[in-house]
């Protein structure tokens, strides 16, 4: 617990607060998040998603089906290095936001419902520091989930679907090194997008004692954003919705990459993180034990 990490050294006249080294606090937070069974189950299931997709696509290829429908799915056949990008582009729509929301819900609302947050708030630990440690826990486990998906996706793709490089949507073939770079860009971009949503979830999490509410509100935000972006008359609202950035994942498989939608998406994520983070911080400041 972070609260225990703060050490008090009392003098007769002055009270000197010596902080625990940040590295140790972050490590203990991470250990705590990763020890929860639901986190491990969630990570395991996410890691399986690309494997299941790869098996499905391999069966479809073997039975000679042409991948009608999703344009990227058609391209994945016989093009294994594309599988992690395809899997992440699918997961970013629902599975990863769900994971981010769950982690953020556990971080503050979950602690609060167990009564453990009270102890931390009472302890002489900066509230900002407490929030930062919690946010770090959420962010690094989210990143871990994304990296895990990319790795299982690459292994499944290369083993089942084959291909030593990557065939882009533009019809060019990239060597293995560059293909790896594209996967890395996808990991960074997708992690940023999930962080944006997790920051909003963390803000909700700071307000409530019920983790379920956090998950519901966050998924509600995703669904409402999706509905709003589907209404043609509300096209003008599109550029501010979280979901808009998710479509840009497809840009990564084009050659040459057009960076502007990706940069816009990353900036949009940063704005959401700023909003979510500042609201969460202000709530943490005013929240009493």
């Amino acid at each position: 617990m972070t609260a225990q990490a703060a050490e008090l050294v009392g003098g007769t006249d002055t009270l000197v607060v010596r902080r625990a080294p940040l590295g140790r606090v972050l490590r203990s937070e991470l250990r705590m998040v990763l020890r929860r069974p639901r986190t491990l189950v969630g990570l395991g299931l996410l890691g399986l998603v690309p494997v299941v997709m790869g098996i499905g696509i391999a069966i479809a290829t073997a039975s000679g089906e042409t991948g009608e429908g999703d344009a990227m799915a058609a391209l994945v056949m016989g093009n294994g290095m594309l599988l992690p990008i395809f899997a992440l582009s699918v997961a970013v729509v629902m599975l990863l936001p769900l994971t981010g929301a769950m982690l953020a819900a556990d971080a503050l609302a979950g602690e609060s419902s167990h009564g453990t947050l009270r102890g931390m708030l009472m302890a002489p630990v900066g509230r900002g520091r407490l929030l930062a440690v919690k946010a770090f826990g959420v962010a690094s486990v989210t990143l871990l989930a994304v990296v895990l998906m990319a790795v299982t996706g690459m292994i499944t793709g290369v083993l089942l679907l084959g291909g030593d490089g990557m065939l882009t949507a533009s019809g060019t073939s990239l060597p293995f090194g560059e293909a790896l770079g594209r996967v890395a860009i996808t990991v960074v971009y997708v992690a940023l997008q999930v962080w944006a949503l997790a920051a909003v979830a963390l803000a909700v999490s700071a307000f409530t004692d019920h983790p379920l509410i956090v998950v519901v509100v966050t998924l509600g935000l995703v669904i409402v954003s999706g509905v709003l972006s589907a209404i043609p008359a509300l096209d003008w609202i599109d550029p501010v919705l979280v979901t808009t950035s998710w479509e840009a994942v497809g840009e990564i498989v084009r050659d040459p990459i057009s960076w502007s939608p990706l940069i816009d998406g990353a900036l949009r994520a940063a704005c959401y993180m700023l909003i979510g983070g500042s609201i969460a911080y202000s709530r943490m400041l005013t929240r009493d034990g």
Binding site: S170, G171, R254, S260, P261, L267, R268, L274, S278
Partner: protein
Amino acid sequence: MDRKRTALTVAAAGTAAGVVGLILIASPAGANEAPPTLPPVSAEALVQSVIDAKTPALAGAVELRNNIGLPIPGLPQGSSDDELARVYADGQGRGRIALRQGGGERTFVQDGTTTWLWNSSDKSVTKFTSEAKDHSEEKLADPATVARDLVELIKKDSTVTVDGTARVADRAAYQLVLTPKPTERTLLREIRIAIDSETRVPLRLEVLANGQSDPALRIGFTEFSTGAQDPALFTFTPPAGAKVTEGKQEKSSEDKGELLKSADLKVVGEGWDVVATGKVPAALLSAQIPQSGERGGPVDATSILKKLGKEVSGSFGTGYVISTKVGTALVTTDGRVAVGAVPQQVLIDALGQK
């Protein structure tokens, strides 16, 4: 109390900064900038310089906004500012156009001797040798060619003026405006073409219909930069596992010729109120078209026409009129068709002229 105030300040400042950031991302660059000051130029000189200009080495992104009221097959519908294509040229006749199709892409590469056509949805490559280039597709995607052809064609029936300047894709541009002469019977109010002041490449084409403030159709660059391009962009090697077919232009043009003969295509009128008339085989009107949705069986073409259009009758017989903001189409029950950027009456006149 103090802590509460800090908390409120942080929340307000952070949220405000975030919202402002989101709005900044949403608003296109240069939207509220004053139009640039450029030396005055006469309309004729401007048109001439456009025709004389050679396409420089450039890279750009093209966007299409279709507000016509009917979907154009193969092109994005609606007013969303979806990128349509990315265009690259090396200034010496080689070029690359990457046309978006959902998550996939169709790529045209002209490497000097061969035109390659890549379709990512079925991983197919079509190869055309020099003479047999697929011009129609290239013209469709390249606003430069579209505008240039239009200027030449329309000049005799319209007033051509230079109406100030504009900033398009962050470049200073002249606005060339083509207005139909008062005698023209058309639904169109004007066509505006933004021409880059430096390279004289048309940057944007807007079609405005009568009684509308927003363009019904807009195609133009959202990003535009000149300068040498990576030569690798202008080569294409068919990837392993792709189907490569030789494009056979001659055969398809023969097919087209026969189709044209049976269609009995004619052009009535000239200028803005030009009307194309023709015939569709009666079999097509009663053809069973499988519905794209999962519900319902196939429908015949006539019932689709009934749904889309309005039934009219007159000296020409009975038919269905499909009207959009920029054009009208009339299909009669006996298979005659007239299409033009004109009101319904002009179409009826054109059918009567036969």
